[in-house]
């Protein structure tokens, strides 16, 4: 465990208060319980309908049922689909039994790098257990949001609800927020130039409405509410799942002491984060900003010294 003391750039804090809202409403966010997600993508569509997000390409990706691929400027919710044949331990979430025993899976080139093709992960024993994981990803609305902190125009700002929003009337499309995000969430939209991402439906929150994606979600996989309450509910849900023998259940982004100070949108996952395309243990880049400025200062002085010395004395 790496310990760092909390400060403006790292560790738990109340982001709205930090951002200059002395009397702010409670911090709002999402708890996405992927164990009840049915992969219907209503969240993707509802988000686009509400926010007028353009269609993002009619391309067949063939990544299981995922043809969205990733979050981006025109995709603010992305449902990941992971097909897993596993022999490690029983997966009680939903099991597929083979009709043919001793299944030897030939290797098929799926045209997908870095993942085992279906059928190969079960090894020589044939397919035993199978599960199909689905998870709706979204901007994490980080407590320490790198995108926000690096934005040079103040287009990205913290709202009174503790969420992170791009102000489209301000953004000049410098694109700096894009590589800053440790989750690869925000992106610039081609043709438009500006950066776009989930706003946690800032306009709807102003009217006391539930964000469009959470409202549509048929199974309440996406739960919206006061972050503190969601964290409690999530902890209880994990306990319930553990008691039911689903030892894989774990929370991601729920810990206010984690590398981004806790996510405003956190998840209950059934496998390692990277399986879902999430970084395993991200740390906000700005945690190291003091060190960066320090090194830059030292380098600047070195340069000054170097230049001065080249002129020193000699001709």
């Amino acid at each position: 465990m790496t310990q760092t003391t909390a400060n403006h750039l790292f560790g738990p804090l109340d982001p709205a208060a930090e951002a200059g809202y002395p009397d702010h409403p409670p911090r709002l966010g999402f708890f996405t319980d992927t164990t009840v997600c049915i992969g219907c993508k209503a969240c993707e569509v509802a988000c686009k309908e509400w926010n007028n997000v353009p269609e993002d390409g009619i391309d067949f990706l063939g990544l299981s049922y995922d043809n969205t691929g990733s979050l981006g400027a025109s995709t603010w919710r992305h449902v990941a689909f992971i097909e897993q044949a596993s022999i490690e331990q029983p997966k009680p979430l939903g099991a597929q039994e083979p009709g043919v025993t001793g299944r030897h899976a030939p290797v098929v080139d799926l045209g997908m790098p870095s993942t085992a093709p279906p059928g190969t992960t079960a090894g020589a024993d044939g397919r035993t257990e199978f599960r199909w994981l689905m998870s709706s990803d979204v901007c994490k609305h980080c407590t320490h949001a790198a995108c926000l902190d690096v934005c040079p125009t103040g287009a990205l700002f913290r709202t009174e609800f503790g969420t992170v929003v791009v102000q489209q009337d301000v953004c000049n499309g410098c694109g700096y927020c894009v590589p800053a995000c440790p989750y690869g969430v925000i992106d610039q939209r081609k043709g438009d130039g500006r950066a776009w991402k989930c706003t946690l439906c800032y306009d709807r929150l102003q009217g006391g409405l539930t964000p469009a994606c959470a409202k549509a979600c048929p199974t309440e996989s996406i739960q919206f509410g006061v972050l503190d309450e969601l964290r409690e509910r999530a902890a209880a849900r994990v306990e319930q799942l553990h008691a039911a023998g689903i030892s894989d259940a774990r929370l991601y982004g729920a810990d206010p002491t984690d590398g981004v100070g806790g996510a405003g949108a956190f998840f209950l996952l059934l496998d390692e984060p990277e399986v879902y395309g999430l970084p395993p243990d991200p740390v906000v880049t700005t945690r190291d900003l003091p060190s960066m400025w320090l090194h830059a200062g030292a380098a600047a002085l070195t340069l000054l010294a170097g230049v001065v010395s080249t002129f020193w004395g000699r001709r």
Partner: protein, 316 residues
């Protein structure tokens, strides 16, 4: 080479997003560094009585910073809103800080450079009060710019490092030194090209200083950064960086061995150093892009750290 890591990802897709910048941005990095180094070289030339070096430094500094900012404006998605950069002043944003640094830097280098143009300007201007003011303020302006110039040369390293791009962030301690080294070497190259052999002594020495900083720190990045170092030592970035090293080293050798005597050698050395600076920035830039596009660079170090040290957690 680090052994090929076993890791899981989502269909091999990137975890973090590479910046959507075009070649504008590495060029902007190069030109900013060149400008800062040049301004300092110009100020040194001014104070040490090397008029050609002074002139080259001041004019080069202004031209480079103008082109640099021009490229940045060109690269943003909404150029007409470029000035929104001045809406806020955010210490957490290297680009914001950089904008303010350049805003502080540009007037000085501008006045100093324009004053160099007085001799070729129409007499009416030369003799006007404006001309007088320019003549009087040239040195203070040039010195002010030179004082800010080290920041101009180094903030761009923070700009790259303050991202989730693994190769850049992991190198956040080293990048500033590579950048100021490269900045010094490029400015030296400019001096070698434009200053006569007699005035170019500081440029030759600066070339050596810059090359040592740049190449030495680059080696450190490649060898000490673990997996992230691979991004610099494989593929296209490696080729660009190797070219940069060769050009820079060659330029320095030429500068130290022949440029004292041969103006031609000095010009060739200068061009080599400038080219080396360009390749260096493009190489560093592309190493970052590669490291963002391959999930390995994000997942493996975090996973290893998790397994070896546990999760990164703050004291609560």
């Amino acid at each position: 080479m680090v052994p090929e890591a076993e890791f899981t990802s989502y269909y091999g897709r990137p975890v973090v997003k590479a910046p959507r910048w075009s070649w504008d941005i590495p060029a902007y990095l190069f030109l900013g560094g060149l400008s800062g180094g040049s301004a300092m070289l110009g100020a040194g030339g001014d104070l040490s009585g090397r008029p050609a070096l002074r002139r080259a430094g001041r004019l080069g500094g202004l031209a480079a910073i103008t082109a640099s900012v021009g490229l940045l404006v060109h690269d943003v998605g909404r150029p007409e809103r470029f000035l929104n950069m001045l809406r806020v002043a955010k210490p957490t944003s290297p680009m914001s800080m950089g904008t303010w640094i350049i805003s502080a830097y540009a007037p000085g280098i501008g006045v100093a450079a324009v004053s160099e143009l007085l001799p070729v300007l129409p007499r009416a201007i030369r003799d006007s009060p404006l001309g007088a003011v320019l003549r009087v303020s040239a040195r203070p302006a040039g010195l002010a710019a030179a004082a800010i110039a080290p920041a101009v040369a180094s903030y761009t390293a923070v700009l790259l490092a303050d991202t989730a791009v693994p190769a850049w962030h992991e190198a956040h301690r080293e990048l500033p030194f590579v950048f100021i080294g490269s900045s010094a070497a490029s400015a030296a190259g400019l001096g070698l090209v434009f200053a006569p052999v007699g005035e170019a002594g500081p440029a030759r020495r600066l070339a050596t200083f810059g090359a040592i900083m740049e190449l030495g720190t680059s080696r450190r990045i490649e060898n000490q950064l673990g997996l992230a170092g691979e991004a610099f030592t494989t593929g296209k970035p490696a080729r660009l960086l190797a070219t940069a090293s060769n050009l820079t080293a060659g330029g320095v050798l030429l500068a130290t061995l022949l440029a004292r005597r041969s103006r031609l050698a000095a010009v060739v050395a200068g061009v080599a150093l400038l080219a080396g600076g360009v390749f260096e920035r493009f190489g560093l830039y592309h190493a970052g892009i590669e490291s963002a596009n391959d999930p390995k660079y994000t997942v493996v170090p975090q996973r290893r750290r998790l397994e070896q040290e546990g999760p990164v957690r703050a004291d609560s």
